[in-house]
């Protein structure tokens, strides 16, 4: 039986804490059992690793380790890496949310745009910072806010469009205070976007694509065949239903109509910390994977749209429900579609994978391609347009970068 209140305990514990402040501090820091294997800034100590291929086939990684963001590149598909370059210098409070990670994109010239979020105050208000490298990743500009607005921002996504402009999209709480001043309730966050014509040195004024979207899930960004940004995200539909939506932008400055990906009917006032994945195949088909715990369905799902995101196929369930399937990723690679997700059996986390060679109409049986017995990052998929790879950071076994079998 646990005692709820004990004056004796309060007084004694307070006395001990007062007498031994440094010991108390040591205990505090030890209470945090890290997701990372070590505390340095090297890749081995990373808790989040994001891969991206440059148009010339160079693999770039951006990671969060030792409280800093660093990058390195590989010319041999991840077998060896260049010396890491630290992007951040200051001791920043990096966003450590389950769906937060540094993002990077590389253009045809080899210039790198990079973005990440920090918590900028004690109330955990977020801020999206961006930087760029114009010397092939040897150095980065000092990171600066993506927008002058000072309300909370998180969950940025960035990418180069085919014309070489950077498109950025993020979740932004700037409409919260005005709504509250009008005496209105404000749910979630706005989906805001901006673009940069100078490789990420400066961004256009922020615009809003949708308001009252779910505030705590990552966004999925892809470009359609015409180079229009397409963003999939967890929205808040009427009645507090946190189902997925998708928007195809008309151009870098104009948002498009919002369409619903699925009617899962997940009515919840909570942070699912679990955003969607989106890829667009050469046929122009949108492929989306997501997690829901709705009344209509629960678990991981996949659906595709062949009309530019207006309507989607019936959701296809993914993974074994009794193994806590999570973090579904999908990518259109040179040999077809690849989907990867996590499952957990009570002891180990495995990465399950399946492929489709008919644009998502049918899928192979899932196979386990990797596993680990401690914490791990989301499984991510990346392609250099010759081969698709799994990128997966694990605490116990380090960083995995492996070619998906069945591909050349």
């Amino acid at each position: 039986m646990i005692s709820r209140k004990s004056v004796a305990r309060t007084v004694l514990a307070a006395a001990m804490l007062g007498a031994l402040p440094h010991l108390a501090d040591a205990q505090m820091s030890h209470q945090h059992a890290s997701e990372a294997a070590c505390e340095e800034t090297v890749l081995r100590c990373a808790s989040k690793v994001t891969p991206a291929f440059a148009p010339d086939g160079t693999l770039w990684l951006a990671w969060r380790a030792g409280g800093q963001i660093s990058v390195a590149s590989s010319k041999d598909q991840g077998k060896s890496f260049s010396a890491p370059v630290q992007v951040t210098r200051d001791r920043l409070n990096l966003d450590w949310g389950p769906d937060a990670r540094p993002k990077l994109a590389i253009d045809a010239k080899g210039d790198i745009a990079l973005a990440f979020s920090i918590f900028r105050d004690q109330a955990f208000n977020g801020q999206v910072l961006t930087t760029r490298s114009t010397d092939g990743g040897h150095s980065f500009d000092p990171p600066k806010p993506i927008t002058a607005n000072n309300e909370s921002q998180r969950f940025e996504a960035i990418g180069f469009d085919p014309a070489g402009a950077v498109f950025a999209v993020w979740l932004d709480k700037r409409n919260r205070v005005p709504a509250q001043q009008r005496g209105e309730k404000y749910d979630g966050a706005g989906l805001f976007f901006a673009s940069s014509k100078d490789g990420g040195a400066t961004y256009s004024d922020a615009r809003m694509a949708a308001d009252n979207t779910c505030e705590c899930c990552r966004l999925a960004l892809a470009f359609d065949g015409a180079g229009h940004p397409v963003v999939a995200f967890r929205n808040i539909f009427d009645g507090g239903v946190r189902d997925h939506a998708i928007v195809t932008f008309t151009d870098l400055a104009r948002s498009g109509e919002l369409h619903r990906v699925s009617r899962d009917d997940w009515q919840i006032a909570a942070c699912p910390h679990h955003g969607p994945s989106l890829t667009i195949s050469p046929a122009g088909t949108y492929h989306v994977t997501w997690y829901t715990n709705g009344k209509a369905r629960k678990g991981l799902f996949y659906a595709r749209s062949r009309d530019g995101g207006k309507t989607f196929s019936d959701p296809l369930p993914i993974g074994e429900l009794n193994r806590s399937p999570s973090r579904p990723q999908v990518i259109a690679g040179p040999q077809g579609l690849v989907m990867a997700w996590k499952e957990f059996d009570g002891q180990k986390t495995s990465i399950n994978l399946m492929t489709s060679h008919d644009d998502g109409a049918t899928w192979s049986k899932p196979t386990v391609v990797a596993d680990t017995t401690d914490s791990s990052d989301h499984p991510l998929l990346v392609t250099d347009h010759r081969q698709t790879y799994l990128s997966w950071m694990t605490k116990a076994d380090g960083y995995h970068f492996q070619a998906i079998e069945g591909e050349p």
Binding site: S3, R4, M16, S34, C271, S375
Partner: protein, 165 residues
């Protein structure tokens, strides 16, 4: 009360755990903690609340829960911060303090392998917070996903009070 005081002294004799058990300081929630928690509260109506310092809906709900605890001394109130955050204990503690939950039984995820911790609690839970589990005297668990309605908590509390009569 005497036994309780003795227990306090024993706890204080082992320094690191004593500091962790300081009033309001969250205890590390580790592998096996869930079963220990269930065992420790067996036979007592217990409200277990999962939350995190960056979760918007949690910030709204936490003070309501603080009032609920004050109004319902017969319910064991347990909070578990399910965020994995560097330097989190201080932030967690200050948020619990201002919500009036300093004297609740407070825990914080203390294992980086959060998937395993969640699996021990509920294999179907993917980490969405807030989340509240109402554990009745007979061990029956009712899970509320997302923000709980205080009216529902009051109703559950009333049924628990009625169960002893």
């Amino acid at each position: 009360m005497k036994r309780r005081f003795l227990a306090v002294l024993i706890v204080l004799a082992t320094l690191p755990s004593a500091l962790a058990a300081g009033e309001g300081a969250p205890k590390p929630f580790e592998r096996g903690s869930w079963q220990k928690l269930l065992h420790a509260h067996a036979g007592h109506p217990t409200l277990v609340h999962f939350w995190g310092v960056t979760c918007g809906p949690c910030k709204v709900e936490l003070p309501q829960l603080g009032r609920f605890m004050k109004d319902h001394p017969g319910i064991d109130v347990v909070t578990i911060s399910a965020d994995l955050v560097p330097n989190l204990p201080q932030a967690t503690r200050s948020m619990l303090d201002s919500a009036g939950l300093a004297s609740a039984e407070n825990w914080i995820f203390g294992d980086g392998f959060a998937e395993r911790l969640r699996f021990e609690i509920d294999p179907a839970w993917q980490g969405d917070i807030p989340r509240t589990m109402l554990i009745a005297r007979d061990g029956t668990i009712t899970t509320i996903e997302g923000s709980a309605e205080i009216a529902d908590l009051n109703k559950w509390s009333d049924t628990q009070a009625a169960a002893i009569r």
